[in-house]
């Protein structure tokens, strides 16, 4: 059952109120630590920090438009074996969805976690975030939130949130235990706090926040954001589909890839404990390169660039949550996210699967029926 309450905001400082909420969470229902984005000492960089001491929450900044890595991987490190106590994790919707996918693969567990999701206004890619904080100097988070919530525009000309965020249809963390709502809420006065699960209800009761009705404008505000982002997403799909159809186009699309595999490292749902591309399967013998070059006339080095990306598509496209960390991590600005979202959308639709929607929903390739998908069988038809 969804309970809604409000977190009062004083002097328009929502970050301060959030820090109080996080302090209150420590100690509630066995929560002994909280994983929350924080600005690091002497820097404007925001990273996930595991906090045990409530006094150390002073620099918590989960509203900053910074998204240097997907926190699902961090939470996986904390829960892949029993922790012995509870940890609260403050995450974006895509991080929660990615974590749910990891739990399905037993690379994380939900039983010792309190998921705290905050409505997501989007975030900058790393380079743009550093430029933003440099040019704006102070009060960057407040400026960002206020501008985006009031006008939907960006606070600094020429600096946009990541395309992955512009295309994300999940601004509200519905999979969280505790949800902090910003859309359709008068955030200068209060923030919304909602329980979204049985565990969330228990935590809400312990927090004792004043209960309110969900603001009538919220559903409309969220619907507007979702519609805008879905439209951007569909335009992105169309553009990308045209750029990847065929070997020549795909080769041009991925021509700047240098096989650094940073996209694999950054991807929260790239789940193999040992990637085949890092094994000696791809440690080719010198004579093989010469032979391949002889066969085709020439070969680009290193080899297997397309093979790597297409394999990754085969392995994790059904789990892709569109967080965009792949593009964020790429040193050469290869549009990895667009390629993966476009193809993943097809794969997920074909299986009627939505990653992160339900922890009980099994990944498509982990189950099968005796009587299904006959359209891929035989010598006629095209598999649809």
């Amino acid at each position: 059952m969804i309970q809604t309450a409000k977190l009062d905001v004083r002097a328009g400082d929502s970050l301060s109120s959030l820090r109080e909420l996080f302090k209150a969470l420590l100690g509630v229902e066995g929560v002994e630590a909280i994983l929350v984005p924080q600005t690091l000492p002497g820097s404007s960089m925001v990273m996930p920090v595991l906090v045990k001491d409530p006094a150390a929450l002073e620099n918590a900044d989960p509203l900053a438009p910074a998204f240097p890595l997907n926190g699902a991987g961090i939470l996986s490190k904390l829960t892949r074996k029993p922790l012995g106590g509870k940890v609260a994790a403050v995450l974006r919707p895509c991080e929660i969805r990615a974590f749910v996918e990891l739990v399905k693969l037993r690379q994380g567990a939900l039983d010792e976690v309190v998921l705290v999701g905050i409505d997501c206004l989007g975030a900058f890619q790393n380079r743009d975030y550093f430029r933003f904080v440099k040019d704006v100097a102070a009060g960057t988070t407040a400026l960002f939130c206020r501008t985006v919530l009031s006008s939907g525009r960006m606070p600094l000309p020429g600096v946009q949130i990541a395309d992955a965020c512009k295309a994300c249809e999940f601004p509200v963390p519905t999979g969280a235990d505790i949800l902090v709502g910003l859309y359709g809420v008068d955030t200068d006065d209060h923030l919304l706090v909602q329980s979204r699960s049985a565990r969330g209800m228990v935590v809400m009761d312990a927090l004792g926040l004043p209960e309110i009705e969900e603001p009538p404008l919220r559903a409309e505000a969220v619907a507007r954001v979702v519609a805008q982002r879905t439209a951007f997403r569909d335009r992105m799909f169309e553009e990308t589909a045209g750029s990847i159809h065929g070997m020549e186009k795909l080769a041009a699309y991925l021509s700047r890839c240098v096989n650094c595999y940073n996209c694999k490292v950054a991807c929260p749902v790239c789940y193999c404990r040992e990637c085949v591309f890092a094994t000696d399967v791809f440690d080719h013998e010198p004579f093989q390169y010469l032979r391949w070059a002889a066969r085709k006339g020439r070969i680009k080095m290193p080899t297997d660039t397309l093979f790597y990306h297409i394999t990754r598509l085969a392995h994790m496209s059904t789990a892709c949550v569109g967080c965009g960390q792949c593009s964020n991590a790429c040193p050469n600005e290869v549009p990895v996210m667009e390629l993966f979202r476009t193809v993943s959308h097809r794969a997920q639709k074909a299986f009627g699967y939505e990653p992160g929607r339900d922890v009980e929903e099994k990944p498509p390739l982990t189950e099968f029926q005796a009587d299904e998908f006959h359209e891929v069988e035989g010598m006629t038809g095209v598999g649809k």
């Binding site: 589909a241 990847i244 159809h245 065929g246 070997m247 020549e248 186009k249 795909l250 080769a251 991925l254 021509s255 890839c257 085949v276 085709k296 006339g297 020439r298 070969i299 680009k300 660039t305 397309l306 093979f307 297409i310 394999t311 598509l313 085969a314 496209s317 059904t318 476009t342 193809v343 097809r346 794969a347 074909a350 299986f351 498509p364 390739l365 099968f368 029926q369 005796a370 009587d371 299904e372 998908f373 891929v376 069988e377 035989g378 010598m379 095209v382 598999g383 649809k384």
Partner: protein
């Protein structure tokens, strides 16, 4: 390139593509077929002992079960320029390892969603169930496949430097 097969392929449609450097009749597809040991490979054996012919375009790769056909084998085949890939094994319910072919079917479903957006036409990837006693069906299926692929024309990856 292999010599022209003795089996006939008669399906030259009006929508046929003309290859660079020759007419469509010159195009001999290279087709890789992953066939399961217990069913389709045995059918191939039977076709052989029955002195049936099928086109030389098809190169058989024996696997123990279609369930061990990793999508990577298929992807690699296409990147190397295979004009078509066939995966063939026991009928659902008859898998020697109980459920390998169900897994294969799901993987094929996935590949048929991933490969077409990248330019690999879905007709180039086929999954068939051909039992051990179906030597004739196998020969006919392979002939049919070669005919279909001749109409499609060579894969774009053929002979090209692939990144």
């Amino acid at each position: 390139m292999p010599s022209t097969s003795s089996g006939s392929s008669s399906a030259h449609g009006s929508g046929a593509r003309v290859e660079k450097g020759g007419t469509m009749d010159d195009f001999e597809p290279t087709i890789l077929a992953f066939v399961c040991n217990w069913c389709t490979y045995t059918a191939a054996d039977l076709a052989g002992t029955s002195r049936l012919t099928y086109p030389q375009n098809v190169r058989l790769v024996r696997v123990m079960c279609t369930g061990m056909v990793d999508p990577q084998y298929i992807i690699k085949a296409f990147l190397e320029g295979a004009d078509a890939v066939l995966v063939s094994g026991c009928h659902p319910g008859d898998c020697h390892y109980i459920n390998g072919n169900y897994k294969a079917r799901r993987r094929m479903k996935l590949l048929k969603e991933i490969l077409p957006p990248l330019g690999f036409e879905p007709e180039r990837l086929r999954l068939t169930w051909i039992g051990a006693s179906d030597g004739i069906l196998l020969a006919e299926t392979l002939k049919q496949l070669v005919a279909q692929v001749k109409i499609l024309g060579p894969s774009e990856a053929k002979g090209k430097m692939v990144l």
